[in-house]
């Protein structure tokens, strides 16, 4: 982290801060507004951890007390820096923007639904790309959704409707907890695009996936989304067989071993043929 950040973090990385009150000419210590406390450890681990605070925030923040109007300064959005950005071409920011504009979030809230509503600029980590642990990817990803959809206060800042209780609206889903722990919300709530790492077209709730077979089958959608990247990586390292057996997860119906499937069909077929032949011989003998 750049050294100049320590100037800000002296106060903003702590729950209390001190300053010299020039009016009263006394040293004063106060509580920091908890929403303005920065977790400096998570900040450094995040994708923007190398940034100076003033790269995004106004340099006028360097003086205290801060000018109240600074709160209204327009902050850069992802696309302001990453639009047409060749360094991060792989992330397809422009396509993400395009997709996002089709999403229910944009439809309902327009421009006020910024990327940072889900992707906290201070702490964001590209877990789906960097982590090899599916559970970590799932929980990191789902916490982005839950930060509003399971938090009435934050939900209220975006919607006048009452936040639906997640366990209730998902009560049709068998093994709900297991699904919540193992599968990302976006698996059912977005349109999966083949050419894309993470789809950003969040669907209206009526259009969310509700068909078990879409995931629990040999052509499981999860292979196109959650396990896509991992499988590609594993395949390049161990070949197709390696990817099959080192897969971390098991999904009923989706993890079929083609060899065992073929073998089971052959054995079943032979048993049926054997029985049929035996039966025919019995009938022939009886009729004699």
């Amino acid at each position: 982290m750049p050294a100049e950040n320590s100037h800000c973090l002296n106060c903003h990385a702590n729950h209390t801060y001190s300053f010299f009150n020039e009016w009263l000419e006394v040293e004063t210590k106060r509580m920091m507004n908890p929403f303005y406390v920065l977790d400096s450890i998570n900040y450094v681990a995040g994708v923007h951890g190398g940034f100076s605070c003033t790269d995004c925030h106004s340099p006028d923040y360097e003086t205290y007390p801060h000018n109240a109007e600074l709160k209204l300064e327009p902050l850069a959005t992802c696309i302001d820096c990453h639009g047409g950005d060749d360094t991060y071409a792989d992330y397809q920011f422009d396509k993400i923007e395009e997709e996002f504009q089709k999403s229910i979030h944009f439809q309902k809230s327009g421009e006020s639904f910024t990327c940072s509503k889900c992707h906290d600029q201070h702490y964001y980590r590209a877990t789906a790309r960097t982590s090899s642990n599916v559970s970590e990817i799932v929980s990191y990803n789902n916490n982005m959704c839950l930060s509003c959809h399971d938090n009435a206060l934050r939900f209220e800042t975006m919607s006048s409707e009452e936040s639906p209780k997640l366990s209730q609206v998902h009560d049709w889903l068998p093994n709900q907890k297991l699904h919540f722990d193992k599968v990302r919300c976006i698996e059912c709530h977005t349109v999966v695009v083949d050419s894309f790492m993470v789809s950003h077209n969040i669907l209206p709730k009526e259009e969310a996936l509700r068909n078990c077979n879409d995931c629990h089958s040999s052509n499981s959608m999860l292979k196109a989304s959650l396990y896509k990247y991992e499988n590609l990586q594993a395949r390049s390292e161990d070949g197709a067989l390696g990817a099959l057996i080192t897969n971390e997860a098991y999904i009923i119906g989706a993890n079929q071993n083609p060899l065992l499937k073929l073998l089971s069909f052959i054995i079943f077929g032979l048993a049926v043929i054997g029985i049929a032949i035996h039966w025919i011989f019995r009938i022939v003998k009886k009729s004699k």
């Binding site: 078990c212 077979n213 629990h216 040999s218 098991y250 993890n255 071993n257 035996h278 019995r282």
Partner: protein, 216 residues
């Protein structure tokens, strides 16, 4: 000779109750299991989540029921039918196999006719031992593990523990269904194809004159 004398009581009440529950349970487990494993083939018009629930419920019923079989065979005389006799085992099983594939069609008598001392022919006996003391317990243990996946070792070398358990569960389930197929077919071999099915319901086995003569 009265009609009563032609019958031997082979299947006690507890055994018939166990067998009835087990039969319904296993059939439903196989059907729902196929529905879950081969969901893309749409072999059955059943809701996936309903199939999951039924599979779990009947899995538990068959598990509890298994203990009736296990304990029953420990404390009642029925255990004698499951005693492994290694001497001449292969020879006896081969003899029975030969009967099924050739003797039966030449009109030969069954080499091991049913009596009170011998409920099962050798092939039947060892098939049952395998299914009831190997396959079904493996299906039960792996099934419980899949119901509570947090119990399973996460990784065995680089392979997922859940994945291994599921493969084993599916494979053993498949072997049980092959057994069931043959079991039902062989049960239809008899004087009348329905004889054996009637016996497992009312407990009595009709001894045919030829068997009776052999016995005396």
């Amino acid at each position: 000779m009265t009609a009563e004398n032609n019958k031997i009581y082979l299947y006690p009440v507890w055994l018939r109750i166990w067998h009835g529950i087990n039969a319904i349970g296993i059939i439903l487990l196989i059907l729902t299991g196929i529905r879950l494993q081969y969901s893309e083939l749409s072999l059955m018009p059943m809701d996936f989540s309903l199939a999951v629930q039924l599979h779990n419920i009947f899995g538990i019923i068959v598990t509890v029921n298994y203990f009736i079989f296990f304990v029953g065979n420990l404390v009642t005389p029925n255990k004698k039918y499951y005693k492994i006799k290694p001497k001449g085992l292969v020879k006896r099983v081969t003899k029975q196999v030969n009967y099924y594939i050739s003797g039966l069609f030449k009109g030969e008598e069954s080499p091991f006719p049913i009596s009170e001392k011998r409920k099962f022919n050798p092939l039947q006996k060892y098939a049952y031992i395998f299914v009831m003391y190997v396959f079904v317990p493996v299906a039960i243990v792996t099934g419980i593990a899949l119901l509570f996946p947090e119990l399973i070792i996460e990784q065995v070398y680089s392979v997922s523990g859940v994945f291994l358990t599921a493969i084993l569960h599916g494979s053993v389930g498949f072997l049980i269904s092959i057994f069931l197929l043959i079991h039902i077919y062989v049960a239809s071999i008899g004087k009348n194809p329905l004889d054996n099915f009637r016996s497992i319901v009312n407990g009595y086995h009709d001894v045919h004159p030829s068997e009776k003569n052999k016995k005396s």
